[in-house]
């Protein structure tokens, strides 16, 4: 067997795992690995902050369906990854983070740039490794990839001491699969569980399917639609589930939860059966769990057994892969007809469609909803949209109609501002042929705007739509609704984003009226490089409807009447 250094083994393993792109930042404890990297077919993206590396790896994984890889040095390099790792954990995104660690003999002595990164990330990783011997590098990396992508995906951290990277050993790739005694991610679904669920489905008169990210991660779109059509059940979507079912499908009701449409939430509250597929009854989805769907029995299908009965008690539970489960369920289910129920749900739309801000005539004000809806129209709904967190995120979910899986990437669970720009860069590198838009707020964009330099250096083209309302908008909205309009620390002064773009050698535009939206969006789409558009939208607009945190799901704050909106041009609640 040939001799290899630990540093070489790292890259040998990554190449064997199919990795061709990594996102990272060098430093002392990871230098041996960086030196060896030059001899391997790896594209390294130099980020401006390690948080950016983790979000890029995350966006890469979510857009492409593979595993994203981020690399950093010890100490601050590793701790800067924490937010990105937690983001990936909450949204079950498969990333592998490789960090350098001080030499083994210095561990525990507070050496320069030493930090206990496996300890720090313990609760926010699916698993982690501290590797101090060169022989342990390959098993750790192989297991890390296996863990990251199997079962319920998630982030895995591999911390490798500098001396382990420098040491040599006789080495050959071990093609054997990974088996771990305590890790059994794919339990076979039992016939009895399927039969119990099918029984509940047959008895249902008012069923609603709740489709989460599990639909996308298990590639279950086709089977889900087949089931929904067979049993004639409408589908409500979680934020992370958007795209898992085409928005244009007649059974797709739209998004549920805190900023879901009123009729969707009412349908859930009046349903007699919920079929929860790859979703976890997050508090932003249920509102007050005690009054949630009080008439409904619940079927919960999830690959993670710990999600069953966690937030909502299930009447029938199936632990396993969603696609396989749906296939099994389909076998035994007869066609059903719930036309009356579905018609009733649509009748609940009532004047909601009229209140839709899209229906407002152009009154000279620029609304975020207009901007996002125009981007949807002009991109034909075919773009990969990556959002940050806040009002623009919810408007995107409401007004960009996603037709395909992996076309919306957003930080749902952790709600990480600053996610969009780096994740969009990662997404573009996973799918170079895709049109990628980062839709961001003026607040979140400034958290990671340094990654513009990364986009410029790498020649990555993403379009950045800054929904600029001069506030930390969602917090301002909460202050307006719940804190008597006392705008503590939410007014936000931003740099000149057009000049910022130009400073990076990128194109930048400012749009202040709706009439100019189309023209500039088309210019951005046609440009070769990254383009930043500063959309100066209505400052005190709010996201409607809204279920206040912890309130009953049917207790929504509704959109104000359009006549009022049209007169004042502002948010009149």
């Amino acid at each position: 067997m040939p001799k290899r250094t630990g540093a070489q083994i790292i890259w040998e393993c990554l190449v064997h795992e199919g990795v061709h792109t990594v996102f990272g930042y060098p430093g002392g404890a990871i230098l041996p690995a960086y030196d060896a990297m030059l001899d391997y077919p790896i594209r390294h993206v130099l980020v401006r902050h390690e948080q950016g590396a983790t979000h890029m790896a995350d966006g890469f994984a979510r857009a492409g369906g593979g595993v994203g890889v981020a690399v950093a040095t010890s100490g601050p390099g590793a701790t800067n990854m924490v937010t990105g790792i937690a983001t990936a954990m909450m949204d079950s995104s498969p990333i592998v983070c490789i960090t350098g660690q001080v030499p083994g003999k210095l561990i525990g002595y507070d050496a320069f740039q030493e930090t206990d990164i496996t300890g720090i990330t313990l609760p926010i990783t699916k698993h982690s490794y501290l590797v101090t011997r060169v022989e342990d590098i390959m098993p750790a990396i192989k297991e890390a990839f296996h863990l990251a992508k199997s079962g319920r995906p998630g982030p895995v951290l591999v911390d490798i001491t500098k001396d382990a990277q420098q040491a040599s050993t006789e080495w050959a790739w071990d093609p054997a699969g990974v088996t771990l005694r305590g890790y059994r991610p794919n339990r076979p679904v039992t016939r009895a569980d399927i039969a119990a669920a099918a029984d509940l489905i047959r008895q249902a008169r008012r069923p609603v399917i709740l489709a989460g990210q599990g639909v996308i991660q298990s590639g279950a779109t086709r089977d889900l639609l087949a089931l929904a059509e067979r049993i004639d059940a409408p589908i409500a979507m979680t934020l992370l589930g958007l795209g898992g079912v085409p928005a244009s499908h007649p059974l797709n009701l739209g998004m549920m939860g805190m900023h879901g449409e009123a009729w969707v939430n009412h349908a859930i509250q009046e349903a007699d059966l919920l079929l929860a597929f790859g979703m976890r009854f997050d508090d932003r989805v249920t509102g007050n769990a005690k009054t949630y769907a009080p008439h409904a029995r619940k079927i919960h299908v999830d690959i993670d057994p710990s999600e069953i009965n966690k937030n909502v008690r299930a009447d029938a539970a199936i632990v396993g892969d969603l696609r396989e489960t749906l296939e099994d369920l389909l076998e035994g289910l007869e066609a059903a007809d719930h036309a009356e129920w579905i018609a009733y749900i649509h009748s609940m739309k009532g004047d909601a469609a009229v209140r839709d801000i899209q229906k407002l005539p152009d009154n000279g004000h620029l609304y975020a909803a207009h901007v996002i809806n125009d981007i949807w129209r002009l991109t034909g709904g075919n773009a990969v949209v990556v959002t940050d967190v806040g009002q623009h995120q919810m408007w995107e979910a409401q007004y960009y109609h996603h037709e395909t899986p992996r076309s919306l990437l957003t930080s749902g669970g952790l709600g990480t501002m600053g996610f969009a720009l780096p994740a969009a860069i990662g997404a573009k590198m996973a799918r170079p042929e895709a049109e990628v838009w980062a839709v961001v707020g003026d607040g979140g964009f400034q958290m990671t705007q340094a990654e513009l330099a990364t986009a410029a250096q790498e020649g990555v083209k993403v379009n950045v739509a800054i929904i600029n309302n001069g506030y930390l908008g969602m917090v301002r909205q909460w202050q307006e609704f719940f804190y008597e309009r006392r705008y503590a620390a939410t007014p936000l002064r931003s740099p000149d984003f057009v000049k910022l773009a130009e400073a990076h050698g990128l194109e930048g535009y400012r749009v202040e009226t709706r009439a100019h939206v189309s023209d500039i969006v088309e210019r951005a789409r046609a440009a070769d490089g990254t383009v930043i558009i500063d959309f100066r939208v209505e400052q005190e607009d709010s996201v409607y409807p809204m279920v206040p945190a912890g309130a009953d799901l049917h207790a929504m704050i509704r959109r104000p009447e359009p006549s009022v909106l049209a007169e004042t041009g502002a948010d009149p609640i």
């Binding site: 496996t118 300890g119 313990l122 609760p123 699916k126 698993h127 501290l130 863990l147 771990l180 005694r181 305590g182 890790y183 059994r184 993670d304 057994p305 710990s306 069953i308 009965n309 966690k310």
Partner: protein, 167 residues
């Protein structure tokens, strides 16, 4: 309500930390936690006593299974089980206290494991309530130091918990 869980875990660095961290992170209070070897090399056994209801115990079990190094978990709250706790108790003995102490020893299956000039150290092993009872009898005599191992437990009967099926 006390709930006893047994976990077979891989004997690897950091596993105790992962388990303990899980209870902290998920907001469960550990009453006692013991770790020791099993008959199989490389496999350790943890006995964890928590104050929780049945539903919470089920949740903890599910969370424990999420840990990659946890091979198997058994909830002893729902099956007949043998449980033992061991305490070493150092009691101050003046003149007339000595007779009272020896009476406690006689009546409670405690053993004297050490005697000093001013103290006697007892060992008591038994079901945790039995150990509690002995301690309350010794308290009037003056306990000056005490240590308890925390509970270890095993299912009664022929059914055995083993990691052998997961290799």
């Amino acid at each position: 309500m006390h709930h006893t869980l047994v976990a077979l875990v891989e004997d690897k660095p950091g596993v105790l930390n992962r388990v303990a961290s899980l209870f902290r992170r998920r907001n469960f209070n550990i009453e006692s936690l013991t770790v020791g070897r099993t008959a199989e090399p490389g496999v350790s056994r943890m006995t964890i006593v928590i104050d929780s209801d049945q539903a919470s115990a089920e949740r903890v079990t599910a969370y424990l299974y999420k840990l990659v190094n946890v091979i198997q978990v058994e909830d002893l709250g729902s099956v007949p089980a043998v449980a033992r706790d061991l305490a070493l108790i150092k009691v101050a003995v003046g003149g007339h206290d000595r007779a009272a102490l020896l009476r406690v020893v006689d009546e409670t299956r405690a053993h004297i494991v050490d005697t000093g000039e001013q103290t006697i150290t007892l060992e008591i092993t038994g079901e945790p309530p039995h150990v509690d009872a002995v301690i309350s009898r010794l308290e009037p005599l003056g306990i000056i130091e005490m240590v308890r191992t925390g509970q270890v437990a095993m299912r009664r009967g022929d059914t055995a918990l083993s990691a052998a099926q997961y290799v």
